[in-house]
């Protein structure tokens, strides 16, 4: 016969169950997780002033990303990533001087590009007492491009797990075979490779703040030119370095956290860029998080950038009117809402990005007429089981 527990016992149990070390309901460890994210990236159309002739529509890309992470035995984990992209629109074909004397852009193809890209990557990690080592291989394919890549990385915790050092090496071998190569006198088939190394250090400063710094170097060689441009000649080698820093601080009184990031980038094409962003991660209870974000980006032009293609120069001279190699500044703002319901997490993000030479911190002598503005919206779902 079981008697009813006393009122005192109920009262004492209630406050004991509220204690933080006890409060969280017992649950099996998160064994596996499955994530899906769908996003749409849409560049604004060009205006008639920017492109007086032909198509004005630029890239519109739908991206579907799947990820599966699961333990594999006691010491391994497995991660599978699959991405699918649907690309339509057009990219700049050539630039000339317009009637008003400013550069104007012609987009590729009368009806633009229709392409899709599929990618699959598989990775595994082996966990040791004070760190882990991992590796991955992947393959990506689209109509005119194929990439095969792989990487290894290792991570080690020091100093009572307060410091983490990680290193990674990766290699990618890419084949390029432009569509309609013969009609437009494009290259038939080219290839390039890139090798990259990253060293990163994370430090937990105290209970409420962390800092991470990472240095990376990437060496690209082979065909680095855009085959779809009427004229575009770039060096066969490119060395890129980047230094990224990230600081996070939890603000107890507000139940929110500041994330502040800064990245410096330089390559030997002559592009130097600075990216600074900050976001405020505001919790509302245990289930909702709202994250406003603001980012500023500034870059200098590549040494051989021209905002008007010069058809009089020999084809072997380096030149490119690719807007990504021009000097410009960009501002983007975003808002993310995350919510947790049971074993499900949902993330909704909207971002607006505006690139303009006027936003540059420096004087821009050759502004590109093809700088982009885009909207990006994405919805992600994560399920743990």
């Amino acid at each position: 016969m079981k008697a009813r527990p006393s009122r005192s016992l109920l009262a004492i149990s209630t406050t004991a169950l509220a204690l933080p070390g006890i409060a969280i309901a017992d649950a099996p460890p998160v064994n596996s997780s499955l994530s899906y994210q769908v996003s749409n990236y849409k560049e604004d159309d060009l205006s008639r002033e920017e492109s007086p002739f032909g198509d004005l529509g630029r890239y519109d890309i739908d991206v579907h990303q799947f990820q599966f992470i699961s333990p594999l035995g006691r010491n391994f984990s497995l991660q599978v990533d699959a991405n699918y992209e649907d690309i339509s629109g057009a990219s700049p074909w050539f630039t000339t001087i317009g009637p008003s004397g400013s550069p104007i852009v012609s987009l590729s193809g009368a009806s633009g590009i229709e392409d899709s890209r599929g990618e699959l990557s598989v990775g595994t990690r082996y966990y040791l007492e004070n760190g882990s080592i991992g590796g991955n291989i992947g393959y990506s394919e689209e109509n005119d491009y194929r990439a095969t890549y792989g990487g290894i990385n290792a991570e080690r915790h020091f100093n009572n797990d307060l410091t983490t050092v990680s290193v990674s090496l990766s290699y990618s071998s890419d084949d390029i075979f432009p569509t309609d190569a013969e009609i437009f006198n494009r290259v038939i088939s080219e290839d390039k490779s890139s090798t990259s190394a990253v060293v990163s250090i994370s430090q937990i400063i105290n209970q409420v703040s962390t800092f991470q710094t990472a240095f990376s170097i990437t060496e690209q060689s082979g065909f680095l030119t855009d085959p779809y441009k009427l004229i575009d000649t770039r060096p066969d080698n490119k060395t890129q370095i980047a230094w990224s820093n990230s600081y996070r601080r939890y603000i107890r009184g507000s139940d929110a956290a500041w994330h502040v990031n800064y990245r410096f980038y330089h390559d030997d094409f002559g592009v130097t860029s600075h990216t600074a962003d900050m976001s405020w991660h505001q919790n509302f209870g245990n289930t909702i998080q709202v994250i406003p974000m603001l980012r500023y980006y500034n870059q200098s032009a590549a040494d051989f950038f021209t905002n008007v293609d010069d058809f009089s120069r020999p084809a072997t001279d380096f030149q490119s009117s690719d807007y990504r190699l021009s000097a410009f500044g960009a501002i983007s703002a975003g808002l993310t809402v995350k919510t947790t319901v049971g074993d499900w997490d949902a993330t909704l993000t909207g971002e607006r990005y505006l690139a303009d030479e006027k936003y540059s911190a420096f004087n821009v002598s050759q502004p590109s007429a093809a700088l982009i503005r885009y909207f990006r919206v994405s919805l992600g779902l994560d399920f743990s089981f």
Binding site: K2, A3, R4, P5, S6, R7, S8, L9, A11, I12, S13, T14, T15, A16, L17, A18, L19, P20, G21, I22, I24, D26, A27, P28, P29, R74, N75, Y127, L128, E129, N160
Partner: protein
């Protein structure tokens, strides 16, 4: 934790086992560093150092919830379980067998009483001379917290023993429950009862090796915050519950009551328990297990 602590669990991977052991030790030492009365750098010592300070001290969420639990124990025991009675334990020296001066006791009682605490949201103002002691709560809370941590790390078999307070991570292999021997309060080593525990926790309170005789009467080291004198109720109590924290609070309150009230309190709780009366006889539903 100022006492013997051990953890037993099963794993076929030594690396995983060591990793969990480290996690548990880290959490145990975090709680010890935060709440030990015997460490001058603990947060509890900081709280006590602020006694009498005008602006008081800011209390974090975890400590706030411990105070909340202590308040419930204070209310449910009608003021017998009182974490503000730290001053009293300072003036009683059980090793010497001396009874402190009545004036000293009166003075300590003056500086005892949960209802004398002042809260301004999460800021706590403690009257001058008062001393907080989380004995009877924190060690039990640590046992539950560590067991939960182990379960969250994927362990479903194991037992934690923090100086006589037990918390079950999960039953022994083959779903067997853990046999826990409860020692006699006055003869070290001999077992007065064995309790089989397959989940939850078990906590004991008693005048284990810490008692004295005065004018022919036996006094435990457990002090009654109302009289300022040691309690004369049960000599030892062990309670099993779904949480070691609950078991500890229930056992401590039973010890503070008179012998008959303490037994009634345990019976009313309907929790498995075993106790030793003043005369050394053993009772309770778990006594013959």
């Amino acid at each position: 934790m100022g006492s013997h602590c051990e953890v037993q669990f099963f794993d076929d991977s030594r690396v995983y086992a060591k990793r969990l052991a480290k996690k548990l030790t880290d959490e145990a030492s975090r709680l010890e560093k935060k709440y030990s009365r015997f460490r001058s750098d603990s947060f509890l010592s900081q709280i006590n150092a602020q006694a009498g300070a005008k602006n008081g001290i800011e209390i974090d969420q975890e400590t706030l919830l411990l105070f909340d639990h202590a308040l419930t124990c204070y209310e449910q025991s009608e003021g017998l379980f009182d974490i503000t009675s730290g001053r009293l334990s300072r003036i009683w020296n059980f090793k010497g067998g001396q009874v402190p001066d009545q004036k000293l006791i009166a003075d300590a009682l003056e500086r005892t009483g949960f209802d004398k605490l002042n809260w301004h949201q999460s800021r706590l103002l403690i009257p001058e001379g008062m001393e907080i002691d989380f004995g009877g709560i924190v060690k039990e809370y640590a046992a539950d917290s560590l067991a939960r941590l182990a379960r969250a790390s994927g362990y479903n078999s194991g037992l934690l023993n923090l100086g006589g307070d037990f918390s079950v991570i999960g039953p022994m292999p083959e779903q067997k429950s853990w046999p826990i021997g409860i020692t006699q309060p006055d003869s070290t080593g001999s077992i007065m009862a064995t309790v089989n525990l397959s989940d939850g926790g078990l906590a004991s309170s008693g005048d284990y090796e810490r008692f004295f005789f005065f004018e022919g009467e036996r006094y435990s080291h457990i002090l009654n915050p109302k009289t300022g004198w040691p309690s004369k109720g049960l000599r030892a109590v062990s309670v099993a519950s779904h949480l070691c924290t609950v078991a500890g609070s229930m056992a401590s309150i039973a010890m503070l009551k008179s012998e008959s009230d303490g037994i009634q309190w345990l019976v009313d709780s309907s929790l498995p328990h075993v106790y030793m009366r003043q005369d050394g006889s053993i009772g309770g539903p778990s006594s013959n297990v």
